[in-house]
């Protein structure tokens, strides 16, 4: 861990350059989404189907935690694409780090930790905004939501790190965003219950880590924890982190130790 923390000054220096812009967008984005979809669309939805939403919650309450989970996924994926690819191919940041006592594992974990930090800060802001809309049931629930959000972030960041270190051209990101990220966002269960999806797509949604993240986020935020189901969701997310990390480690090793 000491070796990973040796990178702290680097990432802190990088963050100092960008944090102002990112704080504004992480605050403004949930605000707009919650106003537009939660309040605007919600008023329309609640009139006809309130009783049909699980737990008979309002649409704002339904969509708020779901938005947190999907926004975290988006941020984690973006932070794991160009920044990783650029550090390999353009800025060669990793290469310069690997000429020091740091190893591939240290460099990978250092960058992942930075992504976790980014996800955590945006989640805190998001949860504060959610609290403002009266969606968060308790302080404990809010804190749990942040913790779950970081787990969701890592479940997506690790496999995308592996992917970004594997591709030979940044053209590889277009299919990832269009065929991976966009359907995951729409079919995550954040905006409508996944049962409303056609059967095939419904099962695909259950295979995606983000759906599990949406479910747990909603349960902890609204104070409706179902221990059996939620522990299962968390275990599934942890599995993605573990497998994703192993893939990322393998991918980084191939790419960085052989110097291409």
């Amino acid at each position: 861990m000491e070796m990973v923390l040796r990178q702290f000054d680097y990432w802190a220096t990088t963050y100092r350059r960008t944090w102002r812009g990112s704080v504004v967008s992480t605050f403004v984005m949930p605000l707009f989404y919650l106003l537009g979809m939660g309040v605007g669309l919600g008023t329309f939805v609640d009139d006809r189907s309130r009783s049909e939403l699980p737990g008979a919650v309002s649409y704002l309450e339904f969509i708020g935690p779901g938005l947190l989970a999907t926004m975290v996924m988006m941020t984690a994926v973006f932070e794991s694409t160009y920044p990783v690819y650029g550090n390999i191919k353009w800025a060669k940041v990793y290469e310069s780090m690997l000429a020091t006592p740091l190893t591939v594992g240290h460099v990978l974990n250092g960058h992942l930790l930075y992504v976790a930090f980014r996800v955590a800060t945006m989640s805190v802001v998001f949860v504060v905004v959610l609290t403002g809309f009266g969606v968060v049931d308790s302080v404990a629930g809010g804190l749990a939501a942040v913790a779950v959000a970081v787990l969701i972030g890592m479940a997506h960041a690790t496999p995308v790190f592996a992917y970004s270190a594997k591709i030979d051209s940044d053209d590889g990101f277009a299919p990832l965003f269009r065929l991976g990220l966009l359907p995951m966002f729409l079919f995550s269960g954040a905006f409508f219950p996944t049962e409303n999806l056609p059967d095939g797509i419904e099962w695909l949604a259950y295979a995606m880590p983000v759906w599990h993240g949406v479910e747990v986020c909603r349960d902890v935020t609204l104070g409706m924890v179902d221990w059996t189901a939620d522990v299962g969701h968390l275990a599934y997310l942890v599995t993605w982190v573990v497998v994703g990390w192993a893939l990322a480690r393998w991918s980084f090793g191939n790419r960085l130790a052989e110097g291409t």
């Binding site: 702290f8 020091t100 190893t103």
Partner: protein, 323 residues
């Protein structure tokens, strides 16, 4: 201009008794391609050692193995007496690496590039700051300390790379093509700094495809071609062993060089034909030039010069270094 610059601290002696780098039968394969095909290298403490060869000769692959970054495919390699397969981090802690393409961070300041880097070696913030100022002064970039890296010229960036590679006071400094792509003035400035390091007793290992660079900086060098070492020695030794003292270069019209070569064959120890000129290898270049004119040949230009490593390379491989 160099008098004002402060010197970096003398390099720590280290605890290595034997050679700094020792390679036996060293090989590097990438899939089916073999970039390094079995080389023996020995670099002693305080030596300036060079790998000379054209692009694709296997120099950079060798450097990456010596830098304990790229795994050895076959053969034995010891750096500072340690095995890179098991002691990579400990070896890298005592190396300085200046890569062929600058890997500086464009988005942080010149000085931050050094202070952040020192932290990777486990140095304290105070030590990083002190060392950064010292090194910025050494590479004459003190007045650029707070500027962005992208505002620096190519030569300044290279000097900053060298400064960064010295942040941990390394026992061995590895430089991959240290002046490739720089203009002549910037090259001389880099050479002058490297020469100072050499005087301080830093072991330098560099690759280059410039013969003048190898002659300027290297006590000893190996000539590499197609993954193998084809000659080894000091620049003077190599020239003595593989070339004559002087060379007379004759230029004629396009396509005439083959015929001319036949006519002047007996005037030199050896004659080489290049696309744009004929080279006469002889110990007395002036005499050869006079003899050519006496035969009624009218070259468009005549140049008499001393033999260089370029001639050694041409002799050993039949090719020029820079195409």
């Amino acid at each position: 201009m160099s008098e004002a610059a402060t010197e970096p601290e003398p390099v720590a002696g280290g605890d290595v008794d034997g050679p700094m780098i020792l390679a036996t039968g060293l090989r590097k394969r990438y899939g089916r391609l073999e970039a390094v095909c079995g080389i023996d290298v020995r670099v002693e403490r305080g030596e300036a050692f060079g790998f000379l060869g054209p692009n694709g000769a296997g120099k950079s692959s060798t450097m990456r193995m010596v830098g304990a970054v790229s795994p050895v495919s076959a053969g034995e390699l010891r750096i500072l007496g340690m095995d890179p397969a098991t002691d990579g981090p400990r070896i890298r802690a005592r190396l300085g690496v200046c890569p062929q393409l600058d890997t500086l961070d464009m988005e942080i300041s010149v000085r931050e590039n050094l202070t952040v880097y020192g932290r990777y070696f486990g140095m304290s913030r105070a030590e990083c700051a002190r060392r950064a100022d010292e090194l910025l002064s050494f590479v004459q970039l003190t007045d650029k300390a707070d500027g962005k890296v992208e505002e620096l010229s190519g030569g300044m960036k290279r000097r900053l790379s060298i400064a960064r590679s010295l942040i941990n006071s390394p026992d061995v400094l590895l430089l991959d093509e240290p002046t490739t792509g720089l203009d002549p003035q910037a090259r001389h400035l880099v050479w002058e700094r490297l020469f100072r390091l050499k005087q301080r007793g830093v072991t330098l290992v560099l690759t280059t495809h410039y013969m003048d660079e190898a002659e300027q900086l290297c006590d000893r060098l190996v000539v590499m071609d197609k993954g193998l070492i084809v000659a080894e020695g000091s620049p003077a030794d190599l020239i003595r062993a593989h070339s004559t003292r002087e060379v007379t270069e004759l230029r004629f019209g396009v396509g005439e060089h083959e015929d001319v070569a036949r006519e002047v064959k007996d005037l030199a120890d050896r004659v080489e034909v290049l696309p744009d000129r004929v080279l006469l290898y002889t110990d007395d270049g002036e005499a050869a030039a006079v003899a050519v004119h006496e035969r009624g040949l009218q070259p468009t230009s005549v140049l008499v010069r001393r033999s260089t490593l370029e001639d050694v390379f041409l002799r050993l491989t039949g090719r020029t270094l820079v195409d």
